[in-house]
Amino acid sequence: MEFSVMLTTMAGGMLKTGAIFVLTLLGSLPLGMIVALLRKSRFMPVRALISIYISVIRGTPLMLQLLVWYFGPFYLFGFNIGGWRFPAIIVAFVVNYAAYFAEIYRGGIESIPQGQYEAAQVLGYTKTQTFMRIILPQVIKIIMPSVTNEVITLVKDTSMAFTLAYAEVFSLAKQISASQTSFTPFIIAGVFYFVANYVVEIVMTRIEKSMDYYK
């Protein structure tokens, strides 16, 4: 197989990797915030449920979670899982990353001094205004380095979709390498992940810089 053919074949995989990456972030970044806020809920059962969820997600391999989300509906309920492959991957990634983001958000929210809440309360801000206008902007600045770390991990974690034989870059590299007895596909995959993360670094650094105007 010629190099150009290999590259074109793998380009399709790159798009699929990109799809997992983008959809996971779109889902898990907001879901993580909801989880973080529910963790501070007034209702004990809600708090307990959230803390179990975070423990289970962090305590088991993502690879196993992928298998459970994909095959679970069949083994547990006898559902037909045709066409469920991609949705299962996205659900697994979103649910997994939301747990990690929730913990990052929680750390950020807890690091805001109580005085900020009190100043806002005395000035008459509602709870929602206090959170959206005073707390959240400061939290975002504080958590950026941790979020960057997590996003970089996500780029590499997308390769785990290979577990469900989804044709993203890593699966394709392995397939082509086996059938062509060539090492080149792995090099292409490696360069792809590296470049993708390099772009992530540049973008995240820009965002961090844009918040450098205050301390």
Binding site: G115, Q116, A119, Q121, V122, L123, G124, Q129, K141
Partner: protein, 253 residues
């Protein structure tokens, strides 16, 4: 009476901090509260500004009750959310640690609440904020951020931020305690200026000469009760209570 607090009780985990305190402030009056730490001064201010809920007693602003003790349950109850919004609008608080919003410029720190809470137009809020900054002597700092200012300047911004809400009464919780000695003067000067303009104020402070110069009345608190109060000269120079004398003797060195 702008503020009237009667028989206020407040405890934290069984520890009684305010023991049946009654305390009122007239329009235009400047009241200083002095006393050792742990005497309940700050808690009294925090109850008056609704940062803490009282366990019993009554709080009234402008003659309207904001909190009272329910005769059946003998627990404190507060007015509804809509009314509380009004009561919160009557009072402002300047904190020991300033608590400016670090992500907002000085101008935004002062204009955001009037715009978002009171619905003042941006133009009016900014014009008013610049007036206040001029009064505080820091009009050139409008576009700076809190971290770029000295402690004394930050505290003056905090005072401007509180004044921008046009409160009926302004509370100060040890406004100079977090400042280097050479910076306290500039903050005390603007508070003095406000006193001269008949702003109603309650100031918790350890600055005795300042309390004497600025107040109409001085209150000495200890152990959750008001031990003594009256004319600043009387309380600070000729206290009738032994505990007041003991406390003040520490400052004479």
């Amino acid at each position: 009476m702008i503020l009237e607090m009667s028989n206020i009780q407040k405890g934290f985990d069984g520890l009684e901090v305010l023991k049946d305190i009654s305390f009122g402030v007239d329009s235009g009056e400047v009241v200083s509260i002095i006393g050792p730490s742990g005497s309940g001064k700050s808690t009294l201010l925090r109850c008056a500004t609704f940062l803490e809920t009282i366990d019993g007693g009554e709080i009234a602003y402008m003659g309207d009750k904001a909190a009272w003790t329910d005769s059946e349950t003998s627990k404190a109850v507060y007015a509804g959310p809509q009314e509380m919004k009004k009561f919160r609008g009557y009072c402002g608080l300047v904190f020991q640690q300033f608590n400016l919003f670090p992500h907002y410029s000085i101008l935004q720190n002062i204009t955001d609440a009037p715009i978002k809470v009171q619905g003042v137009s941006k133009a009016d809020a900014e014009a008013n904020a610049r007036d206040l900054l001029r009064k505080m002597g820091i009009e050139d700092k409008a576009d700076a951020y809190p971290f770029q200012l000295s402690g004394g300047q930050q505290q003056r911004v905090a005072i401007a931020r509180a004044l921008a809400m046009k409160p009926e009464i302004l509370f100060f919780d040890e406004p100079t305690s977090a400042l280097d000695p050479e910076l306290t003067g500039e903050v005390l000067k603007v508070i003095k200026q406000l006193a001269d303009e008949d702003m109603t104020m309650v100031i918790v402070t350890h600055e005795m000469p300042f309390a004497k110069a600025v107040s109409d009345r001085v209150i000495f608190m200890d152990g959750g009760v008001i031990v003594e109060q009256g004319d600043p000269k009387d309380v600070l120079e000729n206290p009738t209570e032994e505990r007041t004398r003991q406390f003040l003797s520490v400052f004479e060195r």
